[in-house]
C-alpha cells in the first residue's frame, strides 16, 4: 500500500477529518478503523483544548463508556450522540443500507446476513452517520438494495435529525447530499483512479470536474496513531492493532474481554 503508511492509517485519518466538530462520537461493534478514527479525533481536539467524548461499544476504555444497550439508543434519541458509523452488505445510491440478505423472496433470500441491528433507528437520530465499507465492488455498491434495513433519506414530515454524511471505502470518499439523495465523489485514495471507482460502483453518483486525491496522513498524524491510538484501540481490537501496528499496538493495551 502507498508508501510509508498502511491503508488503515489513511482511512483512519480520513474518517477523523470527517468527525470534526462532533462532541460525542459513538462506535459500534467490529469497527476498529472507525474506533481508531474517533480516538484520533479526540486526541486532536484535546490538543486544541476541546472536549470530545468517544464511546466504543464493548470496551471499558476510553473514560466514557456505554454498554451499547438501551443507553446508547436513548442517548441518541436525546440528541446526545453526534456521530456514528454504519455499514452494509449492500449500499445503494440513495444511501439505503442492507444488513439482512441478498435476493428475492424475503425472508428466504439466497444469502442471509445477521440482521439490521440498531441501524433502522440510529441512521435517523444521529446527525452525522458515516458509512464505512472496505469492500468497494459492484456486489456491495448496488443500484438498489434487496432489503432496506435503514433508508438513506425520508419524506420531509418524518422526524429525522440524522442521516448519512459520507461513505468511506477502500477506494474513495463519497459525500452524501441528503436533499438530492445522491452521493458525490469527494476524493480518491492514492493509488486508485476515478475510473476504477466508477467501474466498481453499481450506482450513479456525481463526479466533480476535478477529484482530489485523499490526503495521506502526515508524519504527526502517523506518530499519534502509532504511539497513542494503537495501544488504546488494542483493548477492544487486539488482532487489528497487532496486524496494523505490530507489537506496538498490543503492548500498551489490556487485551481480551475484561
Amino acid at each position: 500500500m502507498a508508501g510509508d503508511y498502511a491503508l488503515e492509517e489513511l482511512l483512519i485519518a480520513t474518517v477523523a477529518g470527517l468527525l470534526e466538530g462532533c462532541g460525542h462520537i459513538a462506535v459500534g461493534v467490529s469497527s476498529p478503523i472507525p474506533g481508531s478514527a474517533a480516538l484520533l479525533r479526540r486526541h486532536r481536539d484535546r490538543e486544541a483544548g476541546r472536549r470530545t467524548r468517544v464511546s466504543i461499544i464493548g470496551t471499558t476504555i476510553p473514560a466514557y463508556r456505554t454498554d451499547g444497550g438501551v443507553d446508547l439508543f436513548d442517548s441518541a434519541g436525546q440528541g446526545r450522540v453526534d456521530a456514528f458509523f454504519l455499514s452494509g452488505g449492500q449500499i445503494d445510491g440513495r444511501a439505503n443500507i442492507n444488513l439482512v440478505g441478498v435476493g428475492e423472496g424475503y425472508p428466504q433470500q439466497k444469502v442471509r446476513w445477521s440482521g439490521s441491528f440498531g441501524s433502522a433507528y440510529l441512521y435517523f437520530m444521529v446527525p452525522k452517520v458515516i458509512l464505512f465499507r472496505l469492500e468497494h465492488s459492484r456486489r456491495t455498491m448496488v443500484e438498489a438494495v434487496d432489503f432496506v434495513s435503514a433508508p438513506g433519506t425520508s419524506p420531509p414530515n418524518v422526524h429525522r435529525p440524522g442521516g448519512p454524511y459520507a461513505l468511506v471505502t477502500d477506494l474513495c470518499l463519497f459525500r452524501f447530499d441528503r436533499r438530492r439523495a445522491r452521493f458525490s465523489l469527494a476524493s480518491v485514495h492514492p493509488g486508485h483512479t476515478v475510473g476504477e471507482v466508477r467501474d466498481n460502483t453499481g450506482f450513479d453518483f456525481d463526479i466533480p470536474e476535478t477529484v482530489p486525491e485523499t490526503a495521506p496522513p502526515d508524519a504527526e498524524t502517523l506518530a499519534v496513531l502509532r504511539e497513542t491510538v494503537a495501544p488504546d484501540i488494542a483493548n477492544p481490537y487486539p488482532n487489528f492493532a497487532r496486524r496494523v501496528w505490530g507489537a506496538r499496538g498490543v503492548s500498551g493495551g489490556v487485551s481480551g474481554a475484561a
Partner: protein
C-alpha cells in the same frame, strides 16, 4: 424460600416448556446462559419463539441448529468476529424457522412496553425500513400531540420466560446483574425469569447498599441454578474471558450440518450432565 434454588442448569431447563416465548440476552458481557442452553438442547425443547435481546450469537445459532426453535425475533444473529451464524442462515434460507426481523431499540422498546404494562410504545426512526414493511404487528400512527408527524407504534413484548446468566445470586433468588441494566427490563417484561449464576452470595443482596441497585428482586425470578462458567464459551466480565478457540471451532464446524452435529455430540450430549465446567480445555480448538 430456597425452593427457588435448583440443582443445576438441567433442572432449570426443565422449567422451559415447548412453545415458550423465550427471551435471551446478547452474548457480550457474558450474560448469555450457555450452560442452560446446552441443557435446553439436551432436554429436547421444541417450538421456541426466541426473542433475542436484542441480538444473539452462539446461543440462538445452537438452539436453531438443534431444532429447538420455530420462530426467532431478532435484530441480529451473528458470531461477531468469528463470522456469520451458520445454523441461523441455513434455517432462514430453507424456511425451517420463521424469522421476524427487528432492530435493537425496537426490541428494547417492546420489552419496556411489556415492563410498563402498556400495549405499545412509540419509537422514532424505522419509517421507510423494510423491517416495518414486513411487520404486520407494527403500526405507523400520527403523533396525537402534533400535526403531520408519523411515528411507529411497537407492540409490547411479553416473553413467557427470560433466561440469562448472572455473576451472582443469593439463596432468596435475588440476582445481581452488574452493568447489564437491560436484564432488569427483560425480567420485568417476562412472566417469569430463569437464571444461572456463577456463584451464590452469602446473605441477602437486597440488603447490601452497593449491590442492591443492580439486583433484580426475587419477585421477578422463577428459579436460579448455580452454573460455574455458565456463559462459556463466552466470557464474563472480570471472571473469565471469551474462549476464542472454542468460538472459532464452532464457527468452523457449524458450517456444515455434519460438523454441527459433531459439535453437539461433543459439547452437549457427550458430557456428564453437570460437566460444563472445564469443557473448554477438554476439547481443543480447530
Amino acid at each position: 424460600m430456597s425452593d427457588i434454588l435448583l440443582a443445576d442448569a438441567d433442572a432449570l431447563a426443565a422449567q422451559v416448556p415447548d412453545g415458550a416465548k423465550l427471551a435471551v440476552f446478547k452474548a457480550e458481557g457474558g450474560c448469555a446462559a450457555m450452560a442452560a442452553t446446552f441443557a435446553l438442547i439436551r432436554r429436547g425443547v421444541r417450538d421456541l419463539h426466541l426473542v433475542t435481546v436484542p441480538t444473539s450469537g452462539l446461543q440462538a445459532d445452537m438452539l436453531i441448529g438443534a431444532g429447538c426453535v420455530a420462530t426467532v425475533e431478532t435484530s441480529g444473529v451473528t458470531l461477531g468476529e468469528y463470522g456469520q451464524a451458520p445454523c441461523f442462515g441455513r434455517a432462514v434460507r430453507s424456511g425451517a424457522i420463521r424469522v421476524i426481523d427487528s432492530t435493537c431499540p425496537a426490541v428494547y422498546a417492546g420489552l419496556q412496553a411489556g415492563e410498563k404494562g402498556i400495549p405499545f410504545l412509540p419509537l422514532r426512526g424505522l419509517i421507510g425500513s423494510d423491517i416495518v414493511r414486513h411487520r404486520d404487528d407494527y403500526r405507523v400512527i400520527d403523533n396525537p400531540l402534533a400535526a403531520d408527524d408519523p411515528i411507529v407504534a411497537l407492540p409490547a413484548i411479553v416473553p413467557d420466560i427470560a433466561l440469562f446468566h448472572a455473576p451472582l445470586a443469593d439463596r432468596f433468588g435475588n440476582v445481581w446483574i452488574g452493568r447489564h441494566a437491560e436484564l432488569k427490563i427483560m425480567a420485568h417484561a417476562a412472566r417469569t425469569t430463569l437464571v444461572t449464576c456463577e456463584r451464590l452470595h452469602d446473605g441477602n443482596l437486597l440488603q447490601d447498599e452497593t449491590l442492591a441497585p443492580a439486583t433484580i428482586p426475587e419477585m421477578y425470578i422463577g428459579a436460579v441454578a448455580v452454573a460455574e462458567r455458565g456463559a462459556a464459551p463466552y466470557g464474563v466480565t472480570g471472571l473469565y474471558e471469551d474462549d476464542a478457540g472454542r468460538l472459532a471451532a464452532y464457527a468452523g464446524m457449524a458450517k456444515t450440518e455434519e460438523g454441527f452435529a459433531a459439535w453437539l455430540e461433543e459439547t452437549v450430549y457427550g458430557r456428564p450432565r453437570i460437566g460444563v465446567r472445564g469443557m473448554a480445555p477438554a476439547v481443543a480448538a480447530e
